[in-house]
């Protein structure tokens, strides 16, 4: 899960331990969907993929190297497996792209073969990426097959993780992100780092 420093700090210091899904934020009055144009579109796209549970879903990306989609935020949060393994599934790609590529609209069934349980994530990855796997590849190379290297770009391809229910901050295993240049952001980062360590998470500073 990638977050900006502001959102990460908010999650770690907020009065609620849980990271709420977008829809729960709306229901618990933290966000106002009418404030912007895309929220209704978002609802439509997510409802097409998970018609009965979309309001409960939090989104993450499958990664082998712990650094996620920096396009969504510079700080990559790795969640401990035990906190999500019984309630997560994996999906071919970002629902917006998927809907576009498969001409899927709300109400139409999602075609089979693009989703797997957490335990079967390797099967989905193989089905999707087998053509990119070459004999000479090392473990490091696999990371870039699973999630492309263009992680700060919006169209970078990855396998999405759908986590049913709220994500507790105690489930954070590791955070990787840069040490900010600005003094005030450094102060916020240092405070977040202390809190994360108190929670039992590792914090790594990336280049």
């Amino acid at each position: 899960m990638n977050r900006s420093l502001g959102s990460l700090s908010e999650w770690i210091n907020g009065s609620n331990d849980l990271f709420l899904s977008f829809h729960k934020q709306v229901h618990l009055l933290k966000r106002h969907p009418q404030e912007n144009e895309w929220d209704p579109q978002r609802e439509a796209a997510e409802a097409a993929i998970n018609p009965y549970a979309f309001q409960e879903i939090n989104f993450a990306a499958l990664s082998l190297d712990g650094t996620g989609m920096t396009y969504y935020g510079e700080y990559a949060v790795t969640l401990s497996t035990y906190s999500i393994d019984e309630r997560a599934s994996v999906f071919e790609e970002n629902p917006f792209n998927f809907n576009r590529n498969h001409h899927l609209t709300s109400g139409k069934p999602v075609p089979h073969g693009y989703r797997a349980t957490w335990a079967q994530r390797d099967m989905l990855a193989t089905a999707k990426l087998h053509s990119s796997i070459k004999p000479a590849m090392t473990a490091d190379d696999f990371a870039l097959v699973l999630m492309e290297d263009r992680r700060s770009e919006s169209d970078c391809d990855f396998i999405e993780v759908h986590i049913y229910g709220d994500v507790n901050r105690k489930g954070i295993e590791r955070v990787i992100g840069p040490m900010p240049d600005e003094r005030r952001k450094r102060a916020i980062f240092n405070q977040a780092r202390r809190k994360l360590i108190e929670l039992g998470a590792k914090v790594e500073i990336s280049g």
């Binding site: 977050r3 900006s4 420093l5 502001g6 959102s7 990460l8 700090s9 908010e10 999650w11 210091n13 990271f19 977008f22 934020q25 709306v26 009055l29 933290k30 966000r31 106002h32 009418q34 404030e35 912007n36 144009e37 895309w38 579109q41 978002r42 796209a45 989104f59 396009y71 969504y72 935020g73 917006f96 576009r100 919006s154 169209d155 003094r183 005030r184 952001k185 102060a187 916020i188 240092n190 405070q191």
Partner: protein, 815 residues
């Protein structure tokens, strides 16, 4: 340019195609689809939509939002008692840097005043850590000192029912908007200072009209009504300053500087008591002062002191003391024309014209002929004898052409032209006067006021600017321009400035109340008018305003009682008699209204308003020809009378003379309330000539743009009625449901009955019967009730009759 910005996420999205994403310090990214930006905002709860002028503004706003988000976090860490002193110091210094940007400081201030602090703060601990952050500790101390007010305001908001906002979600949304705009901050500061909240309430309601009802309830719970001046802090003369260094008080037995200081303090103390309308206190202080002076001063010096104090009483509008001290001054020095002149002025102010005449005679006999002659003109003018008044003023200007003080006779002559409705002549005369006396503020103010009479608001504002001085007259004049142009916030701000300096200024007090009335805050307006009545007991206009407001609130019994008392107290003021007759008419007592109007016309045969009312009453009695004749005659004598021409146009529409009505309704961009009334009439003509479909565009524009509450209500009512006439039931219902309080009860009844909502229709019917006693409306309600089975009996008219009569009732009400 539209932008959605989140400080927490550090992202700005420009949603217009092609959508673009902006991050601080990075080039913008063009997106294939807006959905590519969606998750950049995940986890951030501060995304807001902004309307900005260009890309650089977007970047600036993003930087501010980002800095604010950081500052808010750092401030909460700073206040957290579990943080170490070293970290607290770091946080303080970071915040100190950020809040040097005023926009960020304001955002932080607004947020911190929107909810009470969650835990007690150890200020000493913080002070140690903030050696290099003085602004931060000051800010925190300010927040702590305002906690009681913040808690009170937040608690009041919490107690509001979510149904006032439609839902809990909407209530939270309202809270966030109010917080971002600074409503919590402004209210907390005002409550902490025990300031009047009505202007703030007006500001907030104007900004968030959608939640007007909830805001009214919220602010009323905090502290209702207008501030009580007696609640002010103790007065310390030494802290005060007056604007007049030229004091006449002399106590020669003391060393000069000590004497000066003592007199100055005493003078300030008296003026302060005048401001507080503490008549007994001002009287006691003056008695003491004169007593001390009597040991060492001549009668002439004592009279000068008293005349000076009488002038101060006039400035602060405490006429009973003006009369008392002016009379005392004359007794001390009876042969000085100045003392009798001041006394005459005081008598004119309180309407005691007989005594004023006698005092003017004495002024003339002791040598000040100009003053006496001008004073006589003023009395004639006050009595409504405008022809004689003008002749008197003109004679004075001719007889004493080169003498000092003759300019006031010139001003009187020009003002009388305004009284007569001869605005173009008045304008010409003022033009000549400003050419001759370019530094005389009175003439510029008169010139500007005449431009206001003619509806030339922009020129009036410029001309008030030329008056230069920031006198209450100029400020009130400007405020009146804003008020009449529907710019209520600007008007209220200026009135408040005047009231701050002159708390009994009747023009500002009534103007401010009128602003509230025009904005639809009738309860607040009534409270403000009652304050004006209390503070200006010798002025009739606050009573008139109060009576009119009560009538608009449909509290006719109280309105009639207030106005009757007013007429008894001010028998020479025709507007009070007209106000009383209007209130009687609205209460259904047409015969009594006609009787009072006739009495008024016998006494004041030149009064335009009385003739217009007479025509309204005749129209209601079915004598339309006579009513039209009266209005045509009035209009020939007063061609610039908006009231007469508008009323005549309404009558002509009713009688089917559309061409005649159209000629009286110029197609100008509406600004004043009269312009909007004419706009309503023009829309009605559109309905008659081209059908309701075309007119609905006009109605829609009017409802969304008209700043005047009453006209807006009539526009919405006329629109709903027109939709009913087209049998567009859902549209009519939508208009009523969108703002049920902004629609005439008779139209609400009609719409609810026609759209099968019997319960709501019965409530509306009861409201009509309880609050409207005009015959045409009562008959109409009865007919609608019978037609839809709300009452027993057979209807005698068809549906088209109902719509026609409804529209006639709206026309009558509008004009």
């Amino acid at each position: 340019m539209k932008a959605i910005i989140s400080g927490q996420a550090g992202v700005a999205l420009l949603p217009d195609r092609p959508a673009r994403l902006i991050r601080i310090g990075q080039p913008e990214i063009t997106l294939r689809d807006i959905q590519e930006a969606v998750r950049c905002f995940d986890g951030a709860d501060d995304a807001k939509r902004h309307q900005l002028s260009d890309l650089s503004d977007v970047r600036i706003q993003l930087a501010h939002e980002d800095a604010f988000s950081d500052a808010l976090k750092l401030l909460l860490f700073f206040l957290d008692p579990s943080e170490s002193e070293e970290d607290v110091t770091e946080y303080a210094e970071c915040i100190e840097e950020v809040i040097q940007t005023p926009e960020v400081f304001l955002m932080l201030e607004r947020r911190m005043y929107s909810s009470p602090l969650p835990f007690p703060i150890e200020v000493n601990h913080l002070t140690r850590a903030t050696k290099n952050a003085p602004s931060v500790i000051k800010f925190v101390c300010d927040i702590i000192s305002h906690q009681a007010a913040i808690s009170r305001i937040c608690k009041s908001f919490e107690e509001l029912s979510p149904s006032l906002f439609e839902s809990g979600l909407q209530k939270e949304r309202a809270r966030q908007h109010l917080s971002d705009w600074g409503a919590f901050l402004l209210l907390s500061k005002a409550v902490a200072k025990n300031q009047d909240l009505s202007f703030l309430r007006l500001q907030i309601s104007a900004k968030f009209g959608y939640w007007k009802e909830a805001i009214a309830l919220w602010t009323a719970k905090i502290r209702p009504g207008v501030a009580d001046r007696s609640a002010k802090a103790d007065f310390h003369p030494a802290m005060m300053e007056t604007d007049d260094e030229d004091t006449p008080f002399v106590t020669p037995h003391l060393p000069s500087h000590v004497a000066y200081q003592q007199v100055r303090a005493q003078q300030v103390a008296i003026v302060q008591r005048l401001k507080d309308r503490d008549v007994d206190g001002a009287r006691r202080f003056t008695d003491e002062l004169i007593q001390r002076q009597r040991n060492n001063s001549t009668a002439e010096q004592i009279a000068k002191s008293l005349s000076y104090l009488a002038t101060q009483a006039k400035r602060q509008e405490v006429p009973e003391l003006q009369v008392e001290w002016a009379a005392w001054a004359e007794r001390e020095n009876p042969e000085d024309p100045l003392t009798s002149g001041h006394l005459a002025d005081a008598f004119i102010t309180v309407g005691n014209y007989g005594e004023a005449e006698q005092a003017l005679d004495r002024t003339a006999s002791f040598g000040n002929q100009v003053y006496a002659a001008t004073g006589r003109g003023r009395i004639l003018r006050a009595l409504g004898r405008y022809e004689e008044a003008r002749a008197s003023f003109l004679e004075t200007t001719k007889d004493y052409e080169d003498q000092d003080g003759v300019e006031y006779a010139h001003a009187g002559a020009a003002e009388t032209l305004r009284d007569q409705g001869r605005y173009i002549d008045a304008l010409e005369e003022y033009k000549n006067l400003t050419d001759r006396w370019p530094f005389e503020e009175t003439f510029w103010n008169g010139y500007a006021s005449t431009l206001v009479d003619l509806g030339r608001f922009q020129e009036a504002l410029v001309t008030f600017g030329k008056a230069g001085a920031k006198s209450p007259v100029t400020k009130n004049g400007k405020a009146s321009v804003y008020r009449q142009g529907g710019k209520f916030l600007e008007a209220a701000a200026l009135y408040d400035e005047v009231i701050e300096e002159f708390p009994n200024n009747h023009v500002a007090l009534t103007g401010r109340a009128e602003v509230l009335r025009l904005n639809g805050a009738l309860e607040d307006a009534a409270v403000a008018y009652r304050v004006a009545v209390e503070r200006c007991p010798f002025i009739p206009y606050p009573i008139l305003g109060l009576g009119n407001t009560l009538s608009e609130m449909r509290n006719f019994a109280e309105s009639v009682r207030v106005l009757k008392n007013g007429v008894e107290q001010f028998p020479d003021t025709p507007s009070l008699q007209i106000g009383l007759a209007k209130s009687l008419r609205r209460s259904g007592d047409t015969a009594e209204a006609l009787r009072i109007t006739d009495i008024c016309l016998r006494r004041f045969p030149a009064d335009t308003q009385a003739w217009i009312l007479k025509s309204t009453l005749l129209n209601e009695c079915g004598q339309n020809d006579e009513a039209i004749a009266i209005l045509k005659r009035t209009l020939s004598e007063h061609p610039y009378s908006f009231a007469a021409s508008t009323k005549l146009a309404a009558l002509l529409i009713e009688c089917g003379d559309i061409a005649g009505a159209r000629a009286l309704l110029p197609e100008i961009e509406p600004r004043s309330s009269w312009d909007w009334t004419r706009f309503i009439l023009r829309a009605e003509i559109e309905v008659l000539e081209h059908g309701a479909g075309k007119a609905s565009r006009m109605f829609e524009r009017g409802v969304s743009q008209c700043p005047f509450h009453r006209q807006r209500v009539l526009l919405r009512s006329a629109w709903a009625s027109a939709e009913l006439g087209r049998r567009r039931w859902r549209e009519a219902r939508r208009l009523v449901d969108a703002a049920p309080l902004e629609i005439e009860p008779i139209v609400r009844l009609s719409v609810y009955a026609a759209t099968h909502r019997p319960g709501l229709a019965r409530i509306a019917l009861q409201e009509v019967m309880d609050t409207n006693h005009v015959a045409v409306v009562v008959n109409l309600a009865d007919e609608i009730a019978k037609r839809h089975g709300l009452r027993s009996g057979k209807p005698v008219h068809d549906f088209d009759w109902i719509i026609r009569t409804q529209r006639t009732a709206i026309l009558l009400e509008a004009a």
